[in-house]
């Protein structure tokens, strides 16, 4: 029978992609995990997770993100110096090269660059994460509604996003931040989220429109699924992948944008510490002392890269055909 070829091919493919060994396909833990997972969409996520943890790209990015997250949450683990305490800085020690005492050297104020870089992770990550959550929540939800409903809601929301697309983003952020006197993590997050949600909206809407017209949605309707069920069980899971990928990539972009705004002087303000601010502070004397600029810049690049790699790995894992 022609049908017997398929399982064999499947096993071969599985073995190749380091997935479940064919000898004991779904026994014990993996099966139990699935049924214990609660709602059925859990099988999508738990399968994606099974796949993710075998990907080198994911492991590398997860380790990097884990370290940076830890820095953000508990900077005291990494350094005994508290850079928010002005007494740790001595002007006489300004612009020292890296040494055993100051691993990354010192900056223009004689503060320890390593301690400041570690403490800077928290603000940078906070802006990135909060902005991403906000854009996915607002843009994703509105995109789902617009794509699924079509007609007037879609036309209205699409025109609104076009207005946002017409605003140059740096100019828009400058304008929004100028309204608030002092830049903080929250005003920067707000400015970035206001300007970035239309992109998530667009991606979600396009994905939903594609998913909505698929045969399996028509089939689900023909087999009696309600509108709500079609929206959340058939359309949403099939459109989430692209949004999640863009969200993880954007997370890195937002961190970089925060650095950019702080560099321009409208973002997070001293005495708060952020990587962008550190780069801005170090810029005028870069030729004399490169390390106060290079180290936060390197942390910034690595963090952005880690999130982009994570996005890639998640995209692959969420598509069952690539498993």
């Amino acid at each position: 029978m022609s049908d017997t070829a398929a399982p064999r091919a499947r096993h071969a493919k599985h073995a190749k992609s380091f997935s479940r060994p064919p000898s004991k396909p779904r026994s014990g833990s993996s099966r139990g995990g699935r049924t214990a997972g609660g709602a059925k969409p859990a099988s999508l996520w738990s399968d994606a997770w099974q796949d993710l943890r075998r990907r080198p790209l994911f492991i590398a990015s997860a380790v990097l993100i884990g370290v940076i997250l830890l820095m953000a949450v508990a900077p005291g683990l990494f350094t005994s110096v508290d850079p928010y305490d002005a007494s740790t800085c001595r002007l006489g020690d300004a612009r020292q090269a890296p040494s055993a005492l100051h691993w990354f050297g010192t900056d223009n104020q004689g503060c320890d660059t390593y301690a400041r870089t570690v403490y800077g992770a928290s603000n940078s990550l906070l802006v990135g994460l909060c902005t991403t959550v906000a854009t996915v929540a607002v843009g994703g939800l509105l995109g789902l509604v617009a794509g699924f409903r079509g007609g007037l809601p879609d036309a209205l929301l699409s025109r609104v996003t076009e207005v946002f697309f017409a605003i140059p983003s740096v100019l828009g952020a400058l304008l929004i931040l100028a309204v608030f006197r002092a830049g903080t993590v929250w005003t920067v997050t707000l400015a970035l989220a206001v300007l970035a949600w239309p992109m998530t909206f667009r991606i979600m809407r396009a994905a939903v429109i594609t998913a909505k017209s698929q045969d399996y949605v028509i089939a689900a309707r023909a087999l009696g699924a309600s509108n709500r069920r079609i929206m959340f069980r058939h359309v949403l899971p099939n459109s989430m992948a692209s949004v999640i990928v863009v969200a993880t990539i954007n997370l890195g972009v937002f961190i970089a944008a925060e650095a950019g705004l702080s560099f321009l002087g409208v973002g997070i303000q001293s005495p708060e510490i952020s990587w962008g601010l550190m780069i801005a502070d170090a810029r005028p004397r870069f030729l004399e002392a490169a390390s106060p600029l290079l180290f936060p810049a390197a942390f910034l690049s690595v963090t952005v890269l880690a999130f982009i790699m994570l996005g890639d790995a998640v995209r692959d894992a969420l598509d069952p055909k690539l498993r």
Binding site: P7, Y216, A219, A222, G224, N238, P320
Partner: protein
Amino acid sequence: MNQSTPPIPAWGIPDPVRGVTGTEPLLAVDDLHVEFATRRGTVKAVNGVSYALNPGETLAVLGESGSGKSVTAQAIMGILDAPQARIPRGRIRFRGTDLLRLKEDARAQVRGRRIAMVFQDALSALNPVFTVGSQIAEMFRVHQGTSRRDAEARAVELMDRVRIPGARQRLHDYPHQFSGGMRQRIMIAMAIALDPEVLIADEPTTALDVTVQAQIMELLAEVQRDSGMGMILITHDLGVVADVADKIVVMYGGRIVENALVHDVYRTPAHPYTKGLLKSIPRVDRKGRELYAISGTPPNLLDMPPGCAFAPRCPYRQDNCTTEAPPLYRIGPTRGSACHYWREVLDGSHG
């Protein structure tokens, strides 16, 4: 000669759906019209189609692409694209109730539970991100509120019933990990999950290779025999029909051109289009000879010719064919033909 017989529409007005026995059929489509509004004008996809289906019966709806056979099925299911499609006239009676007059939530009660559908391409008709087991189990969970564990057990039962080898092991596989034939079996399992009274199979074997086609048709016939449901089999392949169907409706240009019991059609087609279709089936005893093809192309639904839609391609064409649309003449107790010259066609078939 034709003028002497007044045209008596078969299964037409006044009461077209009572079929042969005079009792209410299971499902009756009555003078159905479906139009699509497009930028280039109104496409009249279905123009006055009537057919009836009794319990335990298989009705084959035959026709080429654009003949309106699938649109009729979608109208029955109520899954036509809402803003573009309109049903200006007609009734679809299911156990005596006109489905077209039901409210949406009442219709949703019928869909899947009492009338179910099998689609042509099972790969695209199954949700790619969920395992087949969860998709079959969903039928029970949505419609009957079955618990996860029970629904899963019943999904395995169903997969066994549609002969998927190693059903329990394959429960957690994704649609793309199955071969075409196995996927269609899963589609069938989902469709029959709730013991529907009517199963509509829209070209269920078109996307499959020939040996698998036969297996799927066999499975459908067997499932139907066991459950006693009525089945509407939509196809463009006459070869598929012969063993399975009881009645045939042949559609062309959104109209029924011939309806009859299966063996009547194969023995003596009464419409030139049906005749052409039968002649174009490849046959072993004609090996080496050129395969017959109906010349010309199907009509443009945006611009239907006046008179008989098949006239431009018809070898029996006379002058009045291009001006007068033939009604569905009743030419026997169980058959009808929408051809002014059905007698000549029948005679030609005998000779």
